[in-house]
Symmetry: C2
Subunit: 158 residues, 2 copies
DNA sequence: CTCACTTGGTTCAGAATTCAACTTCTTAGG
DNA sequence: CCTAAGAAGTTGAATTCTGAACCAAGTGAG
C-alpha cells in the first residue's frame, strides 16, 4: 500500500525565484548587520529600539515585544538585560499586572535611535528600496502581503 | 559648517513594502526551521546539504562552502564538525592543495537529503510559492535579481 | 474560598556563534 | 633558494541562543 504521493518539485522558474529570494534575504541581513556595526548595534537591537520608539510612552510589555519580534521569552529576556546594561532600555514594573514588566526606552536609547536611524534608512535605500522601481515595490507589497498574512496565522503550527 | 544632508526618509509605501518584506523574511525563516525540526535538521544544515548534493562528487572545499553559505570559516568549521558527528558529511584531504579540505556528503547524508527534500519542497510551496501567482513570481525574480546582484558585488564593503 | 490551570517572566545548563589567535601550506619577490 | 606575505582551516574563550524547569501572580470552576 503506497501512501506517498509523488513530490511536486519546483519548476525552474519557481526554483529560481525561491533561490533569489533566499539569497537576497541572507545577503541583505548580512549587509544591514554590517552597516549597523559601527554604531555598536545588531539588527536585533535595532529592531527592538524601533518597536519601543514607536510605542506609546516608548514602552512595551516583555511578551508583546517578544511576539512582535518573534523571539522566545527567554531570548528577549537576555537581550533586554544586555541592552539594559548598555543603557538603552530599562525594565519597569507593571501596575495592573504584577507579574508583568515593561521594557522602556531610556533617554540614551532615544538619542541612539535618533542618531542611527538616518544611517539605517540610507542603508535600506542603498541596498534595497532604491534598487526597485515604484511599480516593483507596489507589486512586492501586494504579493508579499498575503504571504505575511498566511504566516502570521500560522505561528508554529505545521 | 553643516555637512549633514536632510535624511531621505521612506515614504509610507516604501516603509510598508520594507516592513512586509522583513516580516515575511522573519516568519518564513522561522517556519522553515520548524518544518525541518522533526527531521533533526536546522536551516543551516539543510542549506549545506543542498550545496553539497548539487556539487560534482558531492563535495566542496570548505572555503567555497563558507562563501556559498555566507558563513565565517570558523562557523562553518564547527558546523561541519557537528554534521560529521551526525554522520551526514565527512572531511577529506585535498590532493592539489595540502592546506585544503573537502566537505563530502556521506551515503547517510545523501539518504537524509532524499528523505527530507520532498517535505522541504512541500513546506516551501505551502508557505511561499503556492501563495504567489506565476506573474507575481516572475515579477519577484525580475525585481529581486538585480538586488541580489548588487549585494553580491558588495560583500562587506560599506 | 480554594485548588487546579494558565500567564508573564526569569534562570540555568547545554548548544551554537563570534572573534581572535594560531598552524600549516602556498606563492611571489628578490 | 629563501623569505615575507597571504590563504586555508582549526581551535579555544567569550558571547549569544535555545529549551526546559522554575517562580510568582492572575483566572476560573466548583
Amino acid at each position: 500500500m503506497e501512501t506517498e504521493t509523488a513530490t511536486n518539485w519546483l519548476s525552474d522558474d519557481e526554483q529560481c525565484a525561491w533561490r533569489t529570494y533566499l539569497d537576497v534575504n541572507r545577503m541583505l541581513t548580512y549587509q544591514m548587520e554590517k552597516d549597523l556595526q559601527p554604531f555598536g548595534l545588531t539588527n536585533n537591537d535595532y529592531e527592538i529600539l524601533v518597536n519601543l520608539s514607536e510605542s506609546a510612552d516608548k514602552r512595551m510589555r516583555m511578551s508583546d515585544l517578544a511576539a512582535a519580534t518573534l523571539q522566545s521569552k527567554s531570548r528577549l529576556s537576555h537581550q533586554i538585560t544586555r541592552m539594559e546594561n548598555a543603557g538603552l532600555v530599562r525594565r519597569e514594573n507593571c501596575e495592573s499586572d504584577r507579574r508583568g514588566l515593561f521594557a522602556v526606552l531610556t533617554e540614551q536609547g532615544t538619542a541612539t535611535m535618533e542618531k542611527v536611524a538616518p544611517h539605517h534608512v540610507a542603508s535600506v535605500r542603498r541596498h534595497f528600496i532604491d534598487l526597485l522601481s515604484s511599480e516593483a515595490l507596489a507589486d512586492l507589497r501586494e504579493s508579499l502581503g498575503p504571504v505575511a498574512e498566511h504566516l502570521r496565522g500560522h505561528r508554529g503550527k505545521i
